[in-house]
């Protein structure tokens, strides 16, 4: 697989790789894609619309327990006045 395609996947994945890592990924991906191609090339149509999970009915819309904001924010890397801080998005 060429580096351009790996770069595109890295972009979709929000991941960065060094040129060496890119190189090694592109080699590995040959194997991975070959493996996935077994499914693509399988002479097996399979079943359409098989529901693999029975979701049943939605639960009643009732007020339940919820976690307080200050506890939820404890795990956030940067917090100011009950808000998560991120860099400015609008110019």
């Amino acid at each position: 697989m060429d580096i351009k395609e790996i770069e595109h996947l890295a972009q979709l994945s929000k991941l960065e790789f060094s040129p060496e890592e890119m190189e090694s990924f592109s080699k590995e991906f040959e194997h991975l894609v070959e493996f996935a191609d077994i499914v693509k090339n399988a002479d097996l149509q399979g079943e359409q619309n098989i529901q693999t999970i029975d979701l049943g009915k939605l639960r009643d819309d009732e007020i339940g327990k919820s976690t307080p904001t200050e506890i939820l924010l404890k795990d956030s890397p940067l917090v100011k006045q009950d808000c998560i801080v991120v860099p400015r998005i609008m110019e």
Binding site: I6, L9, A10, L12, S13, K14, L15, E16, F17, F25, E28, F29, H31, L32, V33, E34, F35, A36, I38, V39, K40, A42, L44, Q45, G46, E47, Q48, N49, I50, T52, I53, D54, L55, G56, L58, R59, T67, I71, L72, K74, D75, S76, P77, L78, I84, V86, P87, I89
Partner: protein, 475 residues
């Protein structure tokens, strides 16, 4: 009497009768953890474990008789336990403190369990050896140079090392059964929807289940009885009545065991082939009826798995972005850099590989050829298993190709490692329960396992046969 050798059932009985206290029991298991730190099975002993045990002793004095009263339990590092770190074996979440309890934790506590520690795992449950943890490799209790299996290798090693009688792991494609097999213990993957996934960090949501490690069949069944059942917080958790798993018909004379002919072909020439044949011979000697069955496309379950699982993982792991939780890259200057740099610093190599693969099979132009096709084949496999179960109650197959391998011995080609999962992924793809029971030995004397699989929600049939076999072996 050595406390750490007792079963969960015995521990409970001795505590309820006053022969032992929960505090004594918990102390004994924590000592055992401390003595065996070199295996790196456990990441943290909870500092309130003894306090929990003392509280339990008080409750028991006041008449409490929970199903796990005073029994010490170890959990995998991807199950949320309020106030405790849950790091998923990842540098990215090394400081993450759980803000609420997973449903399984609430159920453990209600039953009187004392949760003493969290166990090591492959990062985000991706791997089959526990070599992919950010917190070091876990070693096999029976041979220090070999892997314990994975991804729940820490939980499995902990049970095999007598650090607790029962431990929880999680399964997406064999992460409980495979390490159970490598460590010579019992490991159950329940039916999809049997146990709530609420509060369990998601890998592939349509395949994930909490699983159970134990040293005997009864303890395993006891734990399933505690954990199973519907949950309003997990709509994929089934509204199917929970069986009385510990109170079975263990005579087993009417159970028909199906041997898939395709499995014998896949196992040909491998150490698991002879072991499976020995298992069949042994079942026959116990007058259990064996029927030949066919699962024509079972070999394709593996690539189907390695499309569906990474696709779902890619979506699930999008939440780890350096914004809401997880660590954030110091030098990121804008939002996109926060995502990219934090994720690149935080995730390990195997996790990145699977995120990339997931995005590949989901990306525009490939979705129909890979993901959609894989889902259709999944449907076909479910049909084939249903057909096979028309002529038998239990399907058997090996758990692994061979015994536990040497640490660091796998090649750089990830597909070679993925191929180890060939016998385990099917139960996740089809959604059925499967128990790996210890049976036989490999070339170097390490344990092997055999899987007993049943129709969806028929865990009880599995336990019935497993218990019968355990008794026949005089364990």
């Amino acid at each position: 009497m050595e406390i750490i050798k007792l079963s969960a059932l015995e521990i409970r009985e001795k505590i309820l009768s006053g022969e032992l206290s929960s505090e004594e029991v918990t102390t004994a298991f924590i000592d055992q953890i401390n003595k065996n730190q070199k295996y790196n099975a456990v990441l943290e002993v909870f500092d309130d474990a003894i306090l929990q045990a003392k509280t339990m002793d008080e409750k028991i004095k006041n008449g409490f008789k929970g199903k796990l009263a005073g029994v010490p339990i170890i959990i995998k590092d991807n199950i949320l336990y309020e106030g405790k770190i849950c790091s998923c074996g990842s540098e990215f979440l090394k400081d993450y403190v759980a803000q609420y309890n997973a449903t399984v934790i609430d159920k453990l506590l209600q039953a009187g369990a004392v949760i003493i520690a969290r166990a090591n795992m492959d990062e985000f449950a991706m791997g089959s050896s526990t070599e992919n943890s950010a917190f070091g490799i876990t070693h096999n209790p029976l041979d220090f140079d070999r892997v314990p299996g994975g991804s729940s290798g820490g939980s499995s090693a902990a049970v095999a090392l007598d650090m607790c009688p029962i431990a929880l792991g999680t399964e997406t494609g064999g992460s409980v059964r495979q390490p159970a097999s490598y460590c010579g213990i019992y490991g159950l993957k329940p039916s999809y929807g049997r146990i709530s996934r609420y509060g369990v960090v998601a890998f592939a949501s349509s395949l994930d289940q909490v699983g159970i490690f134990s040293k005997n069949v009864y303890d395993n069944a006891l734990m399933l009885e505690v954990l199973a059942g519907e949950d309003k917080n997990d709509m994929t958790c089934a509204k199917v009545a929970v069986d009385d798993y510990t109170n079975g018909d263990w005579s087993c004379k009417k159970i028909k065991v199906g041997l898939p002919k395709e499995i014998l072909n896949l196992a040909k020439g491998l150490p698991c082939e002879e072991n499976l044949k020995n298992f069949v011979k042994w079942l026959k000697s116990k007058e259990i009826e064996i029927v030949d069955i066919s699962l024509p496309n079972i070999d394709i379950a593996l690539p189907v798995y390695y499309i569906i699982a990474p696709a779902e993982a890619t979506s699930n792991l999008a939440r780890f972005d350096g914004v809401k939780y997880t660590s954030r890259a110091k030098n990121a200057k804008n939002l996109d850099e926060i995502y990219k740099m934090s994720r690149s610093e935080g995730f390990g190599k195997e996790v990145k590989r699977r995120i990339m693969l997931g995005n590949y099979v989901l990306s525009s132009g490939y979705y129909d050829a890979y993901y959609k096709k894989a889902k259709r084949i999944q449907g076909e496999l479910i049909k084939q298993f249903n057909r096979a179960f028309e002529s038998c109650d239990i399907i058997i197959m090996p758990t692994t190709l061979a015994e536990a391998y040497k640490i660091g011995s796998k090649s750089d080609n990830p597909v070679d490692t993925y191929k180890e999962d060939i016998f385990t992924v099917t139960a996740n793809i089809v959604g059925i329960p499967s128990l790996s029971i210890p049976f036989g030995k490999g070339e170097h004397g390490m344990p092997l396992g055999v899987q007993l699989m049943a129709r969806k929600f028929n865990e009880k049939t599995i336990y019935n046969l497993a218990k019968f076999l355990e008794e026949e072996r005089g364990e």
